[in-house]
């Protein structure tokens, strides 16, 4: 009875609404149109000048050198702006300004006051975070989702973290009474222009030093915008100076007699050059150099997360990461299965316009870097390793490289030894934990390493033995202002980040 009543109601309903009771069966539907939008982040937020001066003593100046160079967008090779090239006289001016600011203003200032400046800068970075992110991507080619969601939040975080140290330095290291070193000359690379700036400038200022910063020649723009921001923040003139230029400018900064402290992040080759330039001086030096990170996957690893970790480990920022997990060691028992998973995942990576929010792999930073990657990948193939690249289209203009895996790699291959600094992963296998450690440590570098296993005791056993300044277990490429970063062996010395990062910018009295 109830059933009949139900039927009647249904019919009435349908009749009343005058609807044909039809349903298109799902199986007859065309395959779903499912495309990710070319969802370009607007670049309107950034206003670029045609040319930029040097930031010395609180103002933008034309260079005495009268030289300039252009910076291009590696995503399409468009020229973005003309940038001044600082010559020795300009560097000299910058160092003098920094010295004067150190002697007269920043050095004598109380830690609490310094802290407030740095806090203010941190806040201003947050306010203009999108603008800085867009500019970072324009100038450097990294995907906007990374500059927006990773780089800039970390940049603000670093300033916020070190701001709080400025008036607490007495508590940082037991038994010593800290004092600043003086003028810090800092040379930073193009892979994380703003983040490396933050890693260097924030602790230097917090510890009471003044700064002459030399950004990389292919990515000078965010440092200049940052300089402008510190000007707006009212940071006293000379506390931060930005001198743009290439290697020569960098050399002039680090070898300047009145620089007390040198901090460099970049290639091991240039790091060695700086170390030799400083021989015979007692300048304090920290170096954060190259790497060839080992990523070790055990059979019992959480495999799907390990795949993500490996992908993130090598393709984050196009592989332009000193701590990239560029050597993958997979336990033989799961090697083929794991490589299959990796290949399938590679097929879903989107390579292209870095300003597109859906882009996973953006532009290679420069033509030079692209050439270097090509050379090493060619070497990998001629040495007999097997290459895998997904079949994705690359933009016509700009510098791009497909995400690349090499299987059948031996320790003796160049691609297992040399830092490629690009989206290229070399896959090797191992059988026992001892073998994994031996192979992982078999490199002149020692910056990062990864371990994937669910066995806790094995993680700790491995972590003890891996010669690397950062060991990520069941994760990879994580950074935090509180967490020290830096390498063993030829990956450099000194730590940046965390409490340890302060020590590189402090002198002290003991007792």
């Amino acid at each position: 009875m109830a059933r009949n009543r139900a039927l009647r109601i249904t019919r009435l309903l349908h009749k009343g609404l005058n609807l044909a009771i039809t349903r298109i069966p799902s199986t007859t539907h065309e395959p779903l149109l499912w495309e990710y939008a070319e969802s370009r982040e607007s670049t309107d937020i950034v206003s670029l000048d045609d040319s930029y001066g040097l930031y010395i003593d609180g103002e933008f100046r034309k260079p005495k050198s009268r030289n300039s160079f252009t910076t291009v967008n590696p995503a399409n090779e468009d020229v973005l702006a003309k940038v001044s090239e600082a010559g020795p006289a300009d560097v000299d001016d910058a160092v003098s300004a920094a010295r004067a600011a150190y002697e007269n203003v920043w050095g004598p200032m109380s830690g609490a006051e310094r802290a407030k400046y740095i806090f203010r800068i941190a806040r201003m970075i947050q306010e203009r975070s999108r603008e800085l992110a867009v500019l970072e991507t324009l100038d450097g080619g990294k995907p906007i989702k990374e500059s927006r969601d990773i780089d800039l939040p970390l940049v603000a975080g670093h300033f916020f973290y070190y701001a709080g140290w400025a008036d607490k330095l007495d508590y940082a290291f037991p038994g010593i009474k800290p004092k600043p070193l003086g003028v810090a000359g800092q040379v930073i690379p193009w892979n994380f222009p703003m983040l490396m700036l933050a890693w260097k400038v924030a602790p230097a200022l917090a510890a009471g030093n003044t700064v002459v910063l030399k950004p990389a020649e292919t990515t000078p723009l965010t440092a200049l915008l940052f300089a402008e921001l510190t000007q707006e923040a009212g940071l006293p003139p000379g506390v931060l100076n930005v001198v743009t230029g290439a290697g020569k400018t960098g050399a002039a900064v680090v070898s300047h007699d009145d620089v007390d402290k040198v901090a460099f992040t970049g290639s091991t080759a240039v790091g060695k050059l700086i170390q030799s330039q400083l021989a015979g001086t007692s300048k304090k030096l920290t170096l954060e150099l190259g790497g060839k990170g080992a990523h070790v996957i055990f059979e019992d690893a959480p495999l799907d997360q390990a795949v993500e970790g490996v992908i993130n480990g090598i393709f984050f920022n196009q592989g332009h990461v000193c701590c990239a997990g560029s050597r993958l060691f997979v336990e033989e028992s799961i090697h083929d299965r794991f490589v299959d998973k990796l290949k399938r995942r590679l097929d879903t990576l989107r390579v292209g316009d870095p300003m597109d929010k859906n882009t996973d792999i953006g532009a290679i930073n420069s033509k030079e870097q692209l050439d270097k990657i090509n050379e090493l990948v060619d070497a990998g193939q001629s040495e007999g390793a097997e290459i895998f690249q997904p079949d994705c289209e690359l933009p016509q203009k700009g510098f791009y490289f497909r995400p690349t895996l090499f299987t059948g790699v031996s320790q003796s291959h160049r691609i297992a030894q040399e830092e490629i600094f690009g989206p290229v992963l070399s896959i090797l296998s191992f059988r026992t934990p001892d073998e994994a450690v031996e192979k992982a440590n078999n490199t002149p570098y020692g910056l990062s390493a990864g371990i994937w296993t669910t066995k806790g005791s094995r993680i700790l056993w491995m972590a003890d033995r891996l010669k690397a300044g950062v060991v990520w277990a069941n994760t990879f490429n994580k950074f935090d202002p509180t967490s020290p970063f830096g390498g063993y062996k030829e990956s450099g010395f000194g730590r940046e980040g965390g409490r340890h990062g302060l020590l590189a910018y402090m002198d002290w009295d003991e007792g």
Binding site: L7, T10, L17, R23, L33, W34, D304
Partner: protein, 317 residues
């Protein structure tokens, strides 16, 4: 009953509690933080405007429009069925949903109300939501709902048995329910909110699929949390690995807690990135939902008119 050979290919030769325990312990572990990071990253993708409309249609076509309340009446389910057939009376381009999902007693009304529409009739069974009765009763209830006209059966696993390591009991109930369901599609609810860990989710997924599940489903909707994105990711990855190992394709149904188009879109993003196009149809993916439908309709209206919509213009059934 015997399972298809493909399914048994990953199982031990003799299926007993100890051998299943070994099987379950061999299931790859899951790192919770890594899974959360992955879904967070995927959630940030955006799709084309044209794709968006197709995706919203797809969400409707994937929907198991559901009412599972003690106060359900024939009137309620009949009205819901009408909505299922024609979600937006003013817009004939809106497709029907995939199925109407109800308690066993309501099945006949749905059958009548959707007759000839091709909409599937889904019934919960096995003493949903707790499943805390004798297996015999569960099997009988399954037979009854199929006899009443349900062509899809949403069963619950015995979470107590699962958590206490009685894997054979869980396995056996799924297997016997599948047998009782006959040609009806069997969706196996893991009730992931009670399993708590992603390791358990993955293990239960494997167990259910090996035992014959056509679909695996997150939740009853009676336990909080219900469907979650990271849980869904882990289940989809289990489906992928099961497919790799056996060649058998299994469907997925997140249920409960998916209330907005934006949320549903994230599930589709995760689905597309994890399993790809082959699973992007109502045959292989369903949403168990009730309030989601109107939100999707409102989104479609916004896409078409450029004006944000008001709930007053959409029927509540």
């Amino acid at each position: 009953m015997t399972l298809a050979p493909a399914r048994t290919s990953i199982l031990p030769d003799r299926i007993t509690t100890p051998t299943l325990r070994t099987f379950i312990r061999g299931v790859t572990s899951v790192d919770e933080v890594g899974a959360a990071e992955r879904v967070a990253a995927l959630s940030k993708r955006s799709i084309k405007r044209e794709s968006k409309r197709a995706a919203l249609d797809l969400i409707i076509r994937m929907m198991d429009l559901t009412t599972l309340e003690g106060k359900d009446t024939p009137g309620k389910v009949i009205q819901l069925s009408a909505k299922a057939v024609r979600p937006d009376p003013t817009d004939p381009t809106i497709p029907s949903v995939a199925a109407v999902c109800v308690y066993p007693a309501m099945v006949p009304y749905v059958v009548q109300a959707t007759e000839g529409t091709g909409i599937h009739v889904a019934s919960v069974a096995t003493y949903f939501p707790s499943g805390q009765v004798d297996t015999k009763l569960k099997v009988q209830e399954t037979r009854d709902v199929v006899a009443a006209g349900a062509d899809e059966v949403d069963m619950v696993i015995d979470r107590g048995a699962f958590l206490s390591g009685e894997y054979f009991k869980v396995f056996d109930e799924v297997r016997r329910t599948k047998e009782a369901a006959g040609d009806a599609h069997l969706k196996v609810i893991l009730e992931t909110g009670e399993l708590e860990t992603l390791d358990n989710v993955r293990r239960a997924s494997m167990l259910a699929m090996a035992a014959g599940a056509d679909f695996i489903k997150t939740s009853t909707g009676k336990v909080s949390p219900a469907a979650k994105l990271d849980v869904t990711l882990v289940m989809l990855e289990a489906i992928r690995d099961f497919h790799d190992a056996t060649g058998v394709k299994v469907g997925m149904k997140p249920a409960g807690g998916v209330r907005t188009s934006k949320d549903a879109m994230k599930y589709l993003l995760v689905l597309n990135e994890t399993l790809g196009e082959g699973w992007m149809t109502p045959d292989w993916f369903r949403f168990g939902a009730s309030s989601l439908l109107n939100d999707v309709l409102m989104q479609i209206r916004w896409l078409e008119t450029g004006r944000y919509a008001s709930p007053d213009y959409f029927t509540k059934d």
